[in-house]
């Protein structure tokens, strides 16, 4: 019974991308300060681009939401009765929190790393204000798992662009050290990502496998894409990272290509996620 046209799904993907760009850049700077100094302009570009995208997409989402609840009638959607409806619902409230948090990151990131980190965590947490976890009776447990899952996603995917920038401008030693450090921490982050992902899936489906369910079929597509992303990450860690030491020039070029592919797969995972969340777990 949930409304799921294509446009809201596309807009949701863009919100994911914007959020990962903004909060992911902050997490990268916090996790790898030395490498972050090398790619400061790229990190800044990522944050500003993410914020601009959010600024563009959230108002469009509001309009689309208003039209969806009013049967496409503009005069009803923006008439006195329904005009502010979006802001009275979790969708609008989450969007407002996201915009404020992203604005904070853009304006204070250079002056205070701690405030930027806090704002980035609020930005990630804004996703807990809407969606299936809100309608669950076990909101706290689901919310905690979802927050860890989302923080891991932001950390990982938000680091891809800065890492790619590093392959272009950093000295071989710096690049090699940064990629090794990323690989070492990524192992833990991926474990958290998968662990919480499995728990969320079990909870959301009620530990019931139902291949006829739209929700579970869509989830299967996402799992296949995630498997592809993990394979790429494993290739980077086990093959390309050692190659960076042996042959820095060729290693950097091949790593750059692999990260590009990782970004493409990551985008398809985000699209699959938006597609999944547009349907109910019990359908």
């Amino acid at each position: 019974m949930i409304e799921h046209d294509l446009l809201p799904i596309v807009l949701r993907v863009l919100v994911y991308v914007a959020s990962i760009a903004v909060a992911g850049a902050v997490l990268f700077a916090f996790s790898f300060p030395r490498a972050a100094r090398e790619v400061q302009p790229a990190l800044r570009r990522q944050v500003v681009a993410g914020f601009c995208l959010l600024l563009l997409v959230e108002p469009v989402r509001y309009i689309v939401f208003q039209l969806a609840i009013s049967g496409g009638d503009w005069s009803l959607a923006f008439g006195p009765v329904l005009r502010w409806m979006g802001l009275q619902t979790p969708i609008g409230q989450a969007a407002a929190v996201r915009l404020i948090a992203a604005l904070l990151v853009v304006t204070v990131a250079r002056r205070s790393a701690v405030v930027a980190l806090a704002a980035a965590l609020v930005l990630i947490g804004s996703f807990l204000l809407e969606g299936h976890s809100v309608s669950s009776d076990a909101r706290i447990a689901l919310g905690a798992l979802l927050f860890i899952h989302l923080a891991a996603v932001h950390w990982w995917l938000g680091a891809l662009y800065p890492l790619m920038a590093l392959t272009r401008c950093a000295a071989p030693e710096t690049l090699s050290a940064a990629v090794e450090a990323f690989g070492a921490r990524a192992a833990w982050v991926v474990a958290a990502l998968l662990g919480t992902g499995v728990l969320l899936l079990l909870i959301i489906t009620g530990v019931q496998l139902n291949v006829d369910s739209d929700y579970q079929q869509r989830f299967l597509v996402k799992l296949l894409l995630v498997a592809g992303l993990l394979s790429l990450a494993a290739w980077n860690k086990l093959r390309l990272t050692p190659l960076l030491r042996r042959d820095p020039q060729s290693g950097a070029a091949r790593l750059r290509g692999s990260i590009r592919l990782e970004i493409a797969v990551a985008l398809s995972i985000l699209a699959a996620t938006a597609w999944i969340t547009s349907t109910a777990p019990d359908t």
Partner: protein, 127 residues
């Protein structure tokens, strides 16, 4: 207890504690019921949902000529799990009710059901 056992125990505990908690809002019942035939003169339609939601739009349409029936009551301006909609007394014909709402997690929900109105004596008395 070793770490793997603790993790397994915590997993089972968390999953067991919160499963079957994630069901979306559904329309449980309506008056008239979906598919029911009622007597002419019906002037109120009731909708009952599994969880509170905010109704934003209700259309009542006569199927034969696709004519929109006037809804004469305001929709509740807050989250409700049931609502009554006043309509001008319905004459014989088939009708469809379309509703749009926002659930408490922000999803836009839509649904519809149909019923018939007859002048005959076998129809249920109108409410």
């Amino acid at each position: 207890m070793g770490t793997p056992k603790s993790v397994a125990f915590a997993t089972v505990f968390v999953v067991a504690g919160v499963t079957a908690a994630l069901a979306h809002v559904k329309m449980n019942a309506s008056v008239p019921k979906a598919g029911e035939t009622v007597a002419a003169g019906l002037s109120e339609i009731q909708l009952h949902f599994s969880k509170p939601l905010r109704l934003t739009l209700i259309h009542v349409r006569r199927v034969d000529d696709q004519q929109e029936m006037a809804v004469s009551s305001e929709l509740p301006a807050f989250f409700v799990d049931s609502a009554k909609v006043a309509v001008d007394a319905l004459q014989a014909g088939s009708y469809e009710v379309f509703w749009t709402a926002v659930s408490n997690d922000g999803h836009v929900m839509k649904g519809n059901f149909a019923f018939s109105v007859k002048e005959t004596q076998d129809a249920q008395p109108a409410q």
